[in-house]
């Protein structure tokens, strides 16, 4: 174990702390792995001896991001991503907590696998890692997993990853049982029958490309079913990835009815649309698919209003072998953990979103939903925080990405704003030089 790092004073920063609705100039003092203080003028009242002072003029200090949906290939698909490589990508992207998905080999549906992931993360990862466990055994959609034991072993939520539980009875029982443990159920809502042979969003653009379409109703119908089951069971439910206007309408009604429902949107669906597929660019093949521009715009508005609670990366490393194929045959998914903040800042620079809302959705809200201690700069909280230069312009070079796979939709994109330092538990795990 490394010796405890020196105390750090982040001086003259713009403090953005959504947990206190705070966006103002100030200083942050970190010592012994926790945030000692975050307010104006700490310097005057003195700091412990040996404190490292970092001048943060023009920079933002915010809670580290909590990425609620990232695929990591460990165990079973280490060629795509390991906990170590994912954590390095996360650190470079300002993510201090990764919530990995249960679609591993073997599936995370057994307490021993949860334990394996936590131990591997402890030994190899430089940021926090918390697994979600399978909602149903083997992600089979038929029998519920050991929700109680999995939760006790450290699973922070229950999901079948990118699969939907199509059997409403199975879903109802899983929700009912999960409620007894106050477990959060996270569900990918896409009806596989309505997806059919579809590979991209249904509409004129798919028709032009000669690609079979996926109607957005495939998502909305499943979401609507789920929300009626939530009304029946009263369980805590989180829609894993909402992408279209009609789903937002369904979600709004459920929230207005007071149901314990939250929802996430991926950074991809907030910043890209179906036209980005251009001429069959497979890095833009996603699940659910990228939608039309009005859907994207309505997602951003819903994020701004709080209807969308969480923004996640939907990080999904895929190697060239499964991406350099005709569009219909290529694997879906894009990496994103390292670029989610920079992509999100596009919305801030474009005037579509405030910095406070962005950090709330990428940090504070996911931490709250999962019952994790991060997502805040309150004194006493773990020192999981990031230093961001919100203005720095840069061009994304995939070769420089830390992820094992380079399937980024922001390949050579012009971005503005980047993480310059990532601190986990008071220790600097990434520094941009």
């Amino acid at each position: 174990m490394l010796a405890d790092p020196r105390p750090i004073l982040l001086a003259n920063a713009r403090i953005v702390d959504p947990s206190r609705d705070l966006d103002e100039p100030g200083d942050v003092l970190i010592a012994d792995g926790v945030i000692r203080d975050a307010r104006r003028g700490i310097r005057a009242s003195g700091v412990p001896e040996g404190t490292e002072t970092i001048d943060c003029r023009g920079r933002v200090v915010a809670p580290g991001l909590v990425d609620m949906r990232a695929f990591v290939g460990e165990p079973g698909a280490e060629h795509r991503e390991t906990l170590a490589s994912a954590s390095r990508a996360a650190a470079a992207g300002g993510v201090t907590t990764i919530v990995c998905q249960p679609e591993t080999t073997p599936v995370i549906d057994d307490p021993a696998i949860v334990d394996f992931v936590l131990r591997r993360a402890r030994d190899t990862a430089i940021v926090h890692v918390h697994p979600m466990a399978a909602l149903t055994k083997g992600l089979g959609g038929q029998e519920m997993a050991e929700i109680g034991l999995l939760r006790a072993s450290g699973a922070v939520a229950f999901t079948d990853g990118a699969r939907s539980v199509t059997n409403a009875q199975v879903m109802r029982r899983a929700l009912t049982y999960a409620r007894d443990f106050d477990a959060l159920v996270v569900h990918h809502t896409e009806d596989p029958d309505l997806i059919g042979e579809g590979v991209m969003n249904e509409g004129a653009f798919a028709t032009r490309l000669g690609l079979m379409g996926i109607p957005s109703a495939a998502e909305t119908i499943m979401l609507e079913r789920d929300l009626r089951l939530v009304a029946l069971t009263g369980s805590r439910y989180h829609a894993a990835s909402v992408t279209c206007r009609n789903s937002l309408e369904v979600l709004r009604r459920a929230k207005e009815a007071g149901l314990p429902v939250t929802a996430a949107a991926s950074i991809n669906h907030l910043t890209l649309n179906e036209i980005d597929i251009g001429s069959y660019r497979t890095f833009f093949k996603l699940t659910p698919p990228l939608r039309a521009e009005p859907d994207r715009a309505s997602l951003v508005a819903a994020l701004s209003s709080g209807l969308i609670d969480v923004v996640m990366s939907d990080h999904n490393p895929q190697d060239v072998e499964v991406k350099r194929l005709p569009f219909a045959e290529a694997a879906a998914g894009a990496i994103g953990i390292e670029t989610m903040l920079a992509a999100g800042l596009r919305l801030v620079h474009g005037g579509e979103l405030s910095l406070l809302v962005l950090f709330k959705a990428m940090s504070t809200r996911p931490a709250q939903l999962l019952g994790l201690p991060g997502g805040t700069l309150k004194p006493g909280a773990p020192a999981d925080l990031i230093l961001v230069d919100p203005e720095a312009p840069w061009v994304l070079d995939p070769a420089g990405l830390k992820s094992k796979c380079k399937n980024t939709p922001f390949d050579e994109a012009k971005l503005q704003g980047r993480t310059v330092r990532t601190i986990v538990g008071g220790r600097t795990v990434y520094e941009y030089v």
Binding site: G203, T207, R208, G210, M212, Y280, E321, R324, P326
Partner: protein
């Protein structure tokens, strides 16, 4: 009589991947060039030497008889060395990817690759990895540019023009690359295009391609100059997209009665291979208004024109 090439037409691109992006001048230039080859093909001496020394590989990932033989004949008549490769039965079974196949063949230094693939966009993907010219012989439900060109040549020779003609394209629009290429080409040349099909065989937003959409043959064929029928694959008629062959033929099969809704001098086309008694009745397919056999003849001439035009851009040293 020796027919020398008169046209000096050059297509300002290396590949022919689709009709999309071609101007009306490009299309007219190709059709004019094809006319010369129609005349050549009707002679006893059908050979030209413009592709002598060139290697043409017909790379078919999806079975095809007529398109492949049409391209083969076109290449041979222009003097190219033509090799046919049906990948469905060799490399793909061994797990070789599309791009591996492309890179392997490219190392054999072909000048022209004619490619058909079952996935939309696959031919364009392959074109990024090879040095020669690539001709799309059909990719998924995306494009089949030489089919649209041969259809246009057939129409122009019989009607004298394409502008302002009413063309009804009938049948499985959803899965049809022939329909997409034809819609693009006919719109570029100023025709009025209709698509006629049950709603389950119409892709979403098809009207945004610039067509009128009809669900009824009487309405769709009214005043039509050209009736273009599409093939409907049998596996799509088992209740998944239409209830049965019988019902499909009843509402959408082209028989003499339905053809009567069109103009008296309307002409009938089909890209083949036909399902007689499914989308078209034999009496219509073989009748006086049918251009189906002429389409096949024009196919060779159009493919010669495309090969010739692209070869004019190939490096000579």
């Amino acid at each position: 009589m020796n027919i020398a090439p008169k046209s000096s037409f050059v297509l300002s691109r290396r590949h022919l991947l689709g009709i999309e992006g071609l101007s009306s001048e490009d299309i007219a230039g190709l059709l004019d060039l094809a006319e010369e080859f129609v005349a050549l093909n009707r002679q006893i001496e059908k050979k030209r030497a413009s592709l002598r020394g060139r290697t043409q590989i017909n790379l078919f990932f999806e079975a095809s008889t007529r398109t492949q033989s049409s391209f083969e004949l076109a290449g041979k008549r222009l003097g190219a060395d033509v090799m046919n490769m049906s990948v469905g039965i060799s490399a793909m079974r061994k797990g070789e990817t599309l791009l591996d196949t492309a890179i392997t063949l490219n190392a054999m230094r072909p000048d022209i690759l004619v490619v058909r693939h079952h996935a939309s966009g696959a031919v364009e993907l392959l074109a990024q990895k090879v040095d020669g010219s690539v001709i799309n012989a059909g990719d998924g439900a995306h494009e089949h540019p030489t089919q649209a060109l041969l259809d246009a040549l057939t129409i122009r020779r019989n009607k004298g023009r394409i502008e302002r003609l009413i063309v009804a394209i009938c049948g499985d629009i959803l899965h049809s690359r022939v329909a997409r290429s034809n819609i693009l080409l006919l719109n570029t040349l100023g025709a009025r295009v209709r698509v006629v099909a049950p709603s389950t065989l119409l892709p979403a937003g098809v009207e945004q391609l610039g067509v009128e959409v009809c669900r009824d043959m009487r309405e769709g064929l009214a005043d039509a100059d050209i009736v273009m029928m599409l093939r409907l694959q049998r596996e799509r008629m088992n209740g998944s997209l239409v209830p049965s062959v019988q019902e499909y033929f009843h509402y959408y099969g082209l028989d003499q009665k339905k053809l009567g809704y069109a103009k008296p001098d309307a002409l009938v086309m089909h890209p083949g291979p036909m399902n007689r008694g499914v989308e078209i009745d034999s009496s219509v397919a073989d009748g006086a208004q049918s251009l189906i056999r002429e389409q096949v003849e024009m196919g060779v001439a159009v493919r010669m024109a495309v090969l010739e035009a692209l070869s004019r851009n190939l490096p000579n040293v």
